[in-house]
């Protein structure tokens, strides 16, 4: 009962303070604007991706009669779609390529990163709901909560509160609940907007569980910020000190630690430069002539003939497929190491989550929204598997339908249509969730630390 009264009193204090009201309205407006901006961007992106995917396929099917290997070089583009939750947290999507060119001999890198088409300001920040929820709302929490105890003490009202029948722990819980209610009122318009936009973006049932998990993660994050701010307010000598400490904490958590974490990760796990990477790939791909000669010898022996012209298959088709298979091993090796370095960087950054709960939240939020590196990697791997299937089919057609040395073979539209359509299957959230263990663990650890701080603070409440 008394806790409810205290909570109501805290809520009333916030509502009566005109400046806080203004700040709350500003944050609510920002959340709505950011959500709409994220939705607009997501909608444009998805429309463009879907159209291009169809056009690329139509071009492939309409390329007319030609040699399958010529078609393999013409290739086709496959595009990475994103789920509806990407409009809330765009994560790494502006920084990864949107499409991959599927062609013979090469595993191409994803192309057309949205950030390349953005102006220089795009590097300073991407406006989406996650930015407001991760950075701005915690600042509002700090502003609302830093004086919860310290300001009462400065004004002398703490003494009055302590002589009532309320126990210090009840005071802490009451203030926590009151402030939580105030913050939920600030966030409510933005959250309703996000909900409506998710419906407009045709979010399906597969998005419901990740969306709920995202909601829980953000709630935990807000709880951590609020609880730590209240603890500082209890321990601080006055409201000014409480504000200084909590603001410094906010700056460290949201600005300094993330930047240092990324920098350290880059130093510990350097990404090879493009020249280094491609020189190494080219070096490992070299020696095609020797491999072809070896293949020739082995085929001649296997079919017990003396010239390739006598082979019951097209030697060129078999040689190209052998070349593809060698290339596949080389690409697996180099891309494997490249993506392993990305994963190691992500892990190193996440370890800094011990110093900043924001990093843990970002990892969890990005993974649930499907905008993290793991989702992109899944796309790259599926696209590459598709490329290999396409090349094997095209080379197989040459091998089985042409004679050695005959480049006059032509395949027509019916054959192009036989090739399966690329359909990116997003890994289910259960699979993605397995990779979240460290992020969730760190968030939970922060939650425990914040609760302990609050418990400790409740024992130190003083007039």
């Amino acid at each position: 009962m008394i806790v409810r009264e205290l909570a109501r009193k805290e809520l009333l204090d916030v509502a009566r303070d005109g400046r806080l009201r203004t700040a709350a309205i500003a944050v609510a407006c920002l959340m709505i604007i950011a959500s709409v901006a994220g939705w607009n961007d997501h909608r444009r992106y998805e429309r463009e991706q879907a159209e291009q995917q169809q056009r690329s396929r139509a071009q492939w099917e309409g390329q007319g009669a030609k040699n399958p290997h010529t078609a393999a070089h013409f290739g086709l583009y496959v595009h990475e779609p994103h789920g509806a939750l990407a409009m809330i947290d765009r994560g790494l999507t502006p920084y990864v390529g949107r499409a991959i060119w599927i062609e013979a001999h090469n595993q191409n890198t994803p192309k057309f990163r949205p950030i390349e088409d953005a102006t220089a300001l795009g590097r300073l920040g991407v406006l989406d709901a996650a930015l407001i929820l991760q950075v701005v709302l915690p600042l509002l929490i700090v502003v609302l909560a830093h004086g919860a105890f310290a300001a009462e003490r400065d004004a002398g009202t703490m003494r009055q509160l302590l002589v009532t029948r309320a126990r210090p722990s009840q005071l802490v819980v009451g203030k926590l609940l009151g402030l939580a209610m105030a913050i939920s009122r600030v966030a409510a318009p933005g959250l309703v907007t996000i909900g409506l936009l998710l419906v407009a973006a045709k979010a399906d049932m597969a998005d419901v569980v990740p969306a709920m998990m995202m909601g829980v993660s953000y709630l935990l994050y807000f709880y951590i910020v609020l609880a730590l701010t209240l603890a500082v307010s209890v321990f601080a000598t006055n409201a000014r000190t409480a504000l200084a400490v909590t603001m410094a904490g906010w700056v460290i958590v949201t600005v300094i630690v993330p930047r240092i974490a990324a920098d350290v990760a880059g130093v510990l796990e350097p990404t090879p430069s493009p020249t280094q990477f491609w020189s190494a790939v080219d070096r490992d791909l070299a020696g095609n002539e020797e491999r072809t000669q070896a293949l020739e010898r082995s085929l001649l022996e296997r079919y017990n003939v003396t010239t390739v012209a006598e082979l019951p298959l097209s030697f060129e088709g078999a040689a190209m497929q052998a070349g593809e298979e060698h290339g596949n091993a080389v690409f697996d090796d180099h891309y494997g190491r490249l993506y392993a370095s990305y994963a190691a960087q992500a892990r190193d950054v996440l370890l800094f989550g011990a110093a900043s709960p924001l990093l843990a939240l970002r990892a969890v939020s990005g993974a649930l929204a499907g905008t993290d590196m793991e989702m992109h990697r899944a796309f790259v791997e599926q696209a590459e598997a598709y490329r290999r299937r396409v090349q094997a089919t095209l080379n197989g057609y040459i091998r089985d339908h042409a004679r050695s040395g005959d480049w006059g073979l032509r395949a027509d539209a019916s054959f192009w249509r036989e090739l399966p359509v690329f359909d990116f299957e997003r890994p289910p959230w259960e699979t993605r969730a397995r990779g979240l263990a460290l992020g969730v663990g760190l968030l939970a650890a922060w939650g425990i630390v914040a609760t302990l701080a609050l418990v400790l603070a409740s024992r130190r409440v003083r007039p």
Partner: protein, 461 residues
């Protein structure tokens, strides 16, 4: 002025003695040193990578014979790093500074394989000197200027000073000057010493421009702190207001402007070029017809190429690629125009965020600004057809095995031009900062005229 000098000396002593101020300044110095080292290292890596790209191409060229092979080996067009590249990584981690130009179209150039940088690191950004100046220096200013007047008021010395004819603007001016000296010495001397130790190529002129921007930007935040102090009086509110200004300037306004620009002028679809190059019209380009047309236009060269030999195929290939480049050019230009439209709007709206202006100025001094990379890319796109044309011409006049050794004649070299210096951007930034400082000083003076001594002595919670 004498009072200001006395106050300034006192403030300098107070800053030197204050533990909090010392911690802030030491941390700032460490970050400045780290940021400079990081920038210098990144610049050296970029230079080495450019050199590796040149060596790789030279190696291919050395084993290539004939016009076709040399044309396909290509040449490296590089964006020469500026001497002050260490000052800001800017867009250098995102945009390619090396393009390999070959006989083929841009979709096949090796620069398209540039997209290997870690997305996570790109999203986070680098902790370079520009970041420290743009993001951390304002926080240092904020930490040191929390109580420009409040400290004196709480200590009871404000009344004494006012009674001795020291005005509040004078007091704030002296305090700001002391803080500008303390921070200014660090932002100028620490990177300078670090660059000297690292044997950097940064020229005195570039460093002078950097110093002007860094000092002007620091002054701007001190001026904002002064204006906040005289209006809000209470230290906590003042700090909060400054933090909100910082958040808006460094993050919210740039992000909002970026979103607004993308909404007003949506970026051109990156697929337009791909679409055009894969269209029926381009796909059906017939090399034989193109070759026949060329022979029709140049009857003086007489003998027709034999359609069966490799050389004829090479000529046709080069002709088809050249024709494709010609058809792609309008799309490249349209893409550039769409970007320009966005950039024009950004160049107006960025003045809302002094941090964005400072960042752009520092990038511009370092030669890592988006505009420079955009100009470089456009220049390469415009020049690539001439490489194709030069080799195609040699292929066309050749006869079968008698291909001339194209390396004997000098193939065209990418005409590196970097005609736009940072002067304009730096001047615009300084004007922007001066306007902001002027506004803040105006606010302080205006407030002083309307205020009484009691205004500064009384603070309502």
């Amino acid at each position: 002025m004498r009072e200001v000098a006395v106050l300034w000396r006192h403030e300098m002593r107070a800053l030197a003695r204050g533990t909090g101020a010392r911690v802030v300044l030491v941390l700032l110095a460490v970050l400045l040193c780290y940021g400079t080292t990081r920038g210098e290292h990144a610049a050296k890596v970029r230079s080495a990578d450019q050199q590796s790209a040149r060596v790789a191409i030279e190696r291919i060229r050395a084993t290539s014979r004939g016009a076709y092979a040399l044309g396909m080996a290509g040449t490296v067009a590089t964006l020469t790093p500026r001497d002050a590249a260490a000052l800001s990584i800017g867009q250098a981690d995102l945009r390619p500074d090396t393009h390999v130009v070959t006989l083929t179209t841009s979709t096949k150039r090796r620069s398209d394989r540039y997209e290997l940088q870690s997305p996570l690191l790109l999203a986070s950004g680098a902790l370079d000197l520009a970041f420290v100046i743009v993001h951390i220096v304002p926080l240092a200013v904020l930490a040191l200027s929390l109580s420009l007047v409040g400290e004196e008021r709480d200590g009871g010395t404000l009344g004494l000073m006012l009674a001795h004819g020291v005005s509040v603007p004078m007091l704030i001016g002296a305090k700001c000057l002391a803080r500008l000296c303390a921070i200014g010495v660090l932002v100028v001397s620490v990177p300078l010493a670090t660059l000297w130790l690292l044997h950097s190529q940064t020229s005195p002129a570039s460093y002078a421009l950097y110093s002007c921007i860094a000092l002007a930007y620091t002054s701007l935040w001190l001026a904002l702190a002064s204006a906040a102090t005289v209006f809000l009086l209470d230290t906590a509110r003042c700090a909060l207001a400054l933090l909100v200004c910082w958040l808006a300037s460094t993050l919210l306004i740039p992000a909002a402007v970026s979103a607004l620009v993308a909404f007003t002028f949506p970026p051109a679809s990156p697929f337009a070029l791909v679409e055009a190059l894969r269209s029926d019209a381009v796909r059906d380009l017939d090399g034989e017809k193109l070759l026949a047309r060329w022979h029709g236009e140049h009857p003086e060269l007489g003998e027709q190429h034999d359609a069966e030999d490799d050389h004829a195929w090479q000529v046709q290939f080069a002709l088809v690629q050249g024709e494709t480049m010609r058809r792609a050019r309008p799309i490249e230009l349209a893409h550039a125009e769409a970007y320009e439209r966005q950039q024009r709007l950004v160049s107006v709206l960025r003045y809302l965020s002094p941090s964005a202006v400072a960042h752009e100025a520092l990038d511009s001094i370092a030669g890592t600004d988006a505009a420079r990379y955009q100009r470089f890319r456009q220049a390469v796109e415009a020049w690539a057809p001439s490489w194709n044309a030069w080799f195609t011409e040699r292929l066309l006049i050749a006869r079968g095995e008698e291909q001339p050794d194209a390396s004997a004649a000098q193939p065209p070299r990418y005409p590196h031009t970097d005609d736009v210096g940072p002067g304009g951007v730096v001047l615009a930034a300084l004007c922007c900062f001066a306007t902001w400082v002027g506004l803040c000083v105006g606010v302080v003076v205006w407030r002083e005229r309307r205020a009484t001594a009691l205004t500064y002595m009384t603070v309502t919670a």
